[in-house]
């Protein structure tokens, strides 16, 4: 009996939370004020969420590209086809690693910060006082952050892939001696703009939506205590990572699988 009751309560809480977060997302999406002031808020948040994430994205992209170049070379050289290393690095990055790793890093770097910031604003009654001043925190605080994350993610993913391709070239061409012309021309002939690049960007747009949504909702909905903030930031990173990996499989199946 107790088991049934608990299952019922958990599923009802889950459904209620899903509904709340859905309404919350809609209000955040349409909440951005289309004015000079709204634009200023958006740019300020894009600087904090996007520009300040650049270092971790560029450095990770460089190293992942270098590792791909090294691994790709050592496998391909056995078959005498090390010229294809450029194609391999580019396809791996553009299709999979670019969007996915960027989203994971974004959840850890920017998502957790968003949750903690909004949560602390709630805990210190800043959101309440804004409401009492007749300013809607959804418009002033939440919407600019949502749009900033949503716009930043695809840009960061593109930068990640581009830096990674140069990292791969650094290792395979400059260090291991693959012919530079082969590196680029193999890439050029095999990477399709629509099939690969656009699909990769679509992935990162989806991840941007999901990661930012989770981060701001966890911050807005948390229990305003120090323990609540710690639980919510953890949830942000865990939920974002899991949804990114799960969604990536689904999207890959739809885009590249023959179903």
């Amino acid at each position: 009996m107790e088991f049934i009751r608990r299952t019922g309560r958990t599923s009802m809480e889950f459904a209620a939370s899903l509904g709340r977060s859905g309404v919350f997302l809609l209000r955040a999406v349409f909440g951005l004020a289309l004015s000079l002031n709204g634009l200023k808020l958006l740019v300020a948040q894009m600087y904090r969420i996007g520009v300040l994430s650049l270092i971790i994205i560029v450095v990770s992209g460089l190293f992942i590209g270098m590792v791909l170049g090294l691994q790709g070379y050592s496998i391909l050289v056995d078959y005498g086809s090390e010229q294809a290393v450029g194609q391999m690095v580019a396809l791996t990055l553009v299709r999979e690693l670019g969007p996915v790793v960027t989203a994971l890093l974004f959840a850890g770097r920017a998502g957790s910060a968003l949750t903690a910031e909004i949560g602390l604003m709630k805990a210190t009654e800043q959101l309440s006082s804004m409401e009492m001043m007749g300013v809607d925190p959804l418009r002033r605080v939440i919407a600019p952050r949502f749009w900033a994350g949503f716009i930043s993610m695809p840009l960061l993913a593109v930068i990640f892939s581009a830096v990674g391709i140069f990292g791969g070239m650094l290792v395979s061409v400059d260090w291991l001696g693959v012919f530079e012309g082969a590196y680029w021309s193999n890439m050029q002939s095999s990477v399709e703009f629509e099939g690969d690049v656009v699909n990769g960007i679509v992935k990162s747009v989806v991840f941007g939506l999901v990661c930012t949504w989770i981060a701001i909702y966890q911050g807005y909905d948390l229990v305003p205590t120090s323990q609540g903030i710690s639980i919510a930031t953890t949830k942000t990173v865990v939920y974002s990572s899991l949804s990114v990996l799960g969604l990536d499989f689904l999207l890959t199946a739809v885009m590249f699988g023959s179903i």
């Binding site: 309440s128 006082s129 804004m130 409401e131 009492m132 001043m133 007749g134 809607d136």
Partner: protein, 231 residues
């Protein structure tokens, strides 16, 4: 006034319609805020000020910008006029010199004075204070007590003050209401409450540890508890 945890802050939130009442109505100037849509509600709230227990200053804005915030949000005044208003409000709470400080650089008493200046920035008709004296040193407390009364009289405000600092609250109030157990147990002028008959009101006004509000949280028999085997 009332003991901790009795719902005083909840009452203020009901007045500002941050919480929806499950029954009953709150009328402000004849207007039921719960009947308004989101936009109208935010417009109505611009006519109220609220001083939160923690001050609730925006930690990413300076003192000046904190007070300018409601002005920028609700009026289309030019910048030099906003500056004048902000400086006037800061002068009223004695902190004109602190305009460039960040909230993290302020003491507890100063934080609350800045929050007070922000609450009166739009010249509200109603201002609500949530525990304005909690955790203040004697000097800051004295300053706040005087300021609240002074602003009330000078600006012609309606002030609702929630507190359990009986002496301070009674020294400036015109009308006191004591709530406990979710209902009003005593109301009247401070003098009337001091000579009130009800034991509950007496216990509260005189700050006695035990009485109708028990000192002990409900528990089983003390002796049985100590001799019992169960943890």
């Amino acid at each position: 006034m009332g003991p901790s945890g009795i719902g005083k802050t909840t009452l203020l939130k009901l007045i500002g319609n941050q919480l929806k009442a499950s029954s009953g109505r709150v009328l402000i100037g004849g207007q039921d805020l719960s009947k308004l849509n989101r936009k109208e509600l935010f417009e109505a709230r611009a006519k109220m000020g609220m001083l939160f227990q923690s001050g609730a200053l925006f930690s990413d804005l300076s003192v000046f910008e904190n007070i300018a915030f409601p002005l920028r949000a609700h009026t289309a005044l030019p910048n030099d006029m906003i500056r004048d208003i902000v400086l006037m409000k800061l002068h009223a709470v004695g902190l004109r010199g602190a305009r460039d400080l960040m909230p993290s650089e302020l003491s507890g008493g100063m934080t609350r004075r800045v929050a007070l200046a922000r609450a009166i920035a739009l010249d509200p008709k109603l201002i609500m204070y949530d525990e304005p004296f909690a955790g203040q040193d004697p000097i800051a407390m004295g300053v706040l007590v005087q300021l609240i009364r002074l602003l009330n009289d000078a600006l012609g405000l309606t002030s609702i003050l929630v507190s359990h600092d009986i002496a301070e609250a009674m020294s400036i109030a015109d009308h006191c209401i004591i709530i406990a157990d979710g209902r009003v147990i005593g109301a009247g002028s401070p003098a009337e409450l001091k000579s009130h008959e009800s034991p509950l009101v007496k216990q509260f006004v005189n700050g006695l540890p035990d009485g109708p509000v028990p000192f002990h949280f409900p528990a089983g028999e003390y002796r049985n508890d100590l001799l019992g085997d169960t943890p």
